[in-house]
Symmetry: C2
Subunit: 198 residues, 2 copies
Amino acid sequence: MATVDATTESGKDAAAPPAPPRAGGFPGADLALRLLLFASTLAGLVVLATAKQTVLFPVTLPQLPQVIFVSMPAKFKDSPALIYLLVALCVTCFYSLLTALGSLKLISGSSTPKTLFLLLLLDVFYAAVMASATGSGGGVAWIGLKGNSHTRWNKICDTYGKFCRHIGGAVFLGLVASIVLVLLAALNAYSLYRRSRR
Amino acid sequence: MATVDATTESGKDAAAPPAPPRAGGFPGADLALRLLLFASTLAGLVVLATAKQTVLFPVTLPQLPQVIFVSMPAKFKDSPALIYLLVALCVTCFYSLLTALGSLKLISGSSTPKTLFLLLLLDVFYAAVMASATGSGGGVAWIGLKGNSHTRWNKICDTYGKFCRHIGGAVFLGLVASIVLVLLAALNAYSLYRRSRR
């Protein structure tokens, strides 16, 4: 019954004074958050994919009179955790694009509780995936930044500064994406809650 | 209006043949999942807190005739990522205990959409926290297991086998807890969805 009400009501949302809650809850906020999600994951993808720096290390060999330089590149592909972060950012970016279109459907007012429920499930799933990828990338980035004297893992960020700034930026954008996904899940949950009270 | 209906209906849920969906959705499954969450986080806590191993390394000094042994302990406190995992497991364990009591209330039938909504919000939040802690612990554990030749971070699990088994176990239990939290969020979302269709 509630579904029929929502779809018939949805066309006219102009100036009815104390209007009942809309079908999609806050479709404008939903769309804005999904666009923010898209922007942050896309930026994270670009920042992470371009994280590459080559440093020349001077090496002296007793056989040779002059100093030779050995180039040592650092790239995100060297760490499985950063590859996981890239894949998660990529998949979430694609997801945010698709659901932004779904959100436009919400704005047009044709959302059903089923749409909200499915979006909520997907948001929760992607929030967990993004959070775990951010955690794993962040854990590795932290070792790169601070090192670990107990395991004798030396920090690399004093040498590979630019590389580390890219990784740090990607982890930060991953964190933003995770928070946005949690907020989206909360928003959809609230929309379902409002409908369930009616 | 709907809220009043729900609370008055909730007392009598005995044997009306084609009964409408219950208030709490699947309170039995909810309680079972919360107990599983409690068990996994408690086990993870114990396994992680007891992750300690001391290895004796033989050292030969030119000044001394005999070989001396240097003890080098490995404990979870040496890594910020593992401390984060411990804190997340601890907080989630406490949360699972509290909400298992809340779930008993669901079984008694006195749940409102508001309870479901708040539980859903908390489940999503804790799922994100647990997932990020699992990711960060897993990222560090992976370096300990495999090392990283590019950054010259050597693996430590060939020496500290028992320690690594504990860390791996804690990360696995953290993963189980994250999955259970996502399932709990999905279950609560479904309960809200069922109510919103009525």
